[in-house]
């Protein structure tokens, strides 16, 4: 971001006793942790260990079988509905609208979210950050998978989220894209909460703590 370092946002994300069963098959149980501005958490585990599931639960897109996820901004609890304004998510499960251009996607989605910042300005900033400015008017239908991934970042960063959650952060990205993501992760660590779900050990190193999902779920400190 231009200018000086953005100030640290006073945000906390608390997961308490998160348990998820699918058709009685236990994915994980009793996961609890608390993150505040400046914290970063990597969620790791083999394929099928529930990383994406936990990510969806943290973002309020999937209901846990038991347990709660709570957000607080500036010390005050924020409901799940209101938390949308503070959350950014990039995941392979996210799709954007094919029939609209990159720019239109950002604009329409911002208006639906009722963002009260200057949408045109922020959209331009986001698109330039991820390197999609030149293709902003093309239909997303024509984007390559790498470009779609970049657009997802543009969308996630649009409202300068207090909490940024990345699931498989570098999938479909070329070397240049990976560099952009690294910078984004670094900037997020400096200003808010970063959560990264990945099976890549190197990406896990971007974070200070690691939650290893599996038969025995453990929380490990990396640095």
């Amino acid at each position: 971001m231009e200018g000086g370092d953005p100030p640290m946002i006073d945000v906390t994300l608390t997961a308490t006793g998160i348990t998820k069963l699918f058709n009685r098959r236990m994915i994980f149980r009793e996961i609890s942790f608390s993150l505040k501005g400046g914290d970063s958490l990597a969620i790791t585990g083999r394929n099928g260990s529930g990383k994406s599931t936990l990510v969806k639960i943290l973002c309020g897109v999937l209901t846990p079988t038991q347990g709660t996820v709570q957000f607080a901004i500036g010390g005050k609890r924020v409901s799940i509905d209101a938390a949308k304004d503070y959350l950014g998510l990039v995941t392979p499960y996210l799709q954007l609208y094919d029939e609209f251009s990159g720019w239109e996607n950002l604009e329409l989605l911002s208006r639906i979210r009722s963002n009260d910042f200057p949408i045109d300005e922020r959209a331009a900033e986001s698109l330039k950050l991820v390197g999609l400015w030149d293709r902003r008017k093309d239909m997303v239908r024509t984007y390559s998978s790498g470009m779609k991934q970049r657009l997802k970042y543009a969308f996630a960063l649009l409202h300068r989220p207090a909490v940024l959650v990345l699931d498989e952060p570098t999938s479909n990205l070329d070397a240049e894209g990976v560099e952009v993501v690294k910078r984004v992760a670094e900037a997020q660590r400096a200003s808010g909460i970063l959560v990264v779900a990945t099976s890549d050990a190197i990406e896990a190193q971007w974070c200070a703590r690691e939650l290893r999902l599996g038969n025995q779920t453990q929380m490990v400190t990396i640095r």
């Binding site: 699918f22 058709n23 009685r24 098959r25 079988t65």
Partner: protein, 234 residues
């Protein structure tokens, strides 16, 4: 439960005997004679069977709704088990009500089906039950199945009062008790039944309700056992 089981057996047996055997006479002298109702005569006996069965299907639906609502509030799968067990019984009783109704219609009005408001209402209930089970079979996830079928049954349930209370009043129907019914040959709505008929009728109502409770209990226990068994396999 013993009370329920024996109670329902005794009551229904009594009703079958009393309902069918007690003779009709124009001027009933004793308790053991039913009055002759002008347009209906022997066909009036249907009231001891058709109406309680129809009543039971509505009760089953309400029970299913209640447990569906409890599931939505608590996400406890045992409520869903109860909801679907009740719905299954409701479907069965609804078939019976439709068939007994159609048989009576044939004898009374000449044709099995006439689309009069009450006939239409029971048909709609049948459709709702059918749709409920169709929806459930299209959902694989247990949680989704429970939640969505509960929501659907509530939405469908919301339309039922409109049917039952409003349509018959607006449209003249063949059913006893509907608007336009000539001599008020409507023993149900006006409770013009003679006391002894009323007694048999109420006992039948109770008997069938107890039967429903009994069957419901069995189904829920069976469903629970199946549920436990299948979770040990995963």
């Amino acid at each position: 439960m013993k009370f329920v089981k024996y109670g329902s057996i005794i009551l229904i047996t009594f009703v079958i005997i009393a309902g069918l055997a007690i003779p009709l006479s124009p001027a009933p002298q004793s308790w053991l004679q039913f009055p002759v109702i002008p347009a209906l005569e022997q066909k009036a006996r249907n009231i001891f069977f058709h109406v309680p069965v129809a009543w039971t299907t509505v009760v089953a639906f309400l029970v299913s709704l209640f447990y569906g609502y409890r599931y939505l509030r608590t996400r406890d799968i045992s409520y869903d088990i109860k909801s679907v067990s009740s719905a299954g019984l409701g479907l069965l009783f609804c078939f019976l009500a439709t068939i007994t109704g159609a048989l009576w219609a044939k004898f009374n009005w000449g044709s099995f089906w006439n689309w009069d408001p009450r006939e239409t209402s029971i048909f709609v209930l049948l459709l709702i039950y059918g749709a409920y089970f169709a929806l459930r079979s299209a959902l694989e996830s247990e949680e989704k199945r429970a939640a969505l079928s509960a929501v659907y049954s509530i939405i469908a349930g919301i339309t039922v009062p409109f049917l039952i209370f409003i349509m018959p009043r607006m449209m003249a129907g063949l059913h006893p008790g509907a608007k336009g019914d000539p001599e008020g040959a409507g023993p149900v709505v006006q409770f013009n039944m003679s006391p002894n008929m009323l007694v048999v009728f109420l006992l039948s109502l109770l008997g069938f309700t107890l039967l429903f409770v009994w069957l419901f209990n069995i189904r829920v226990r069976m469903a629970r056992i199946e549920y436990e068994r299948s979770s040990h396999h995963t």
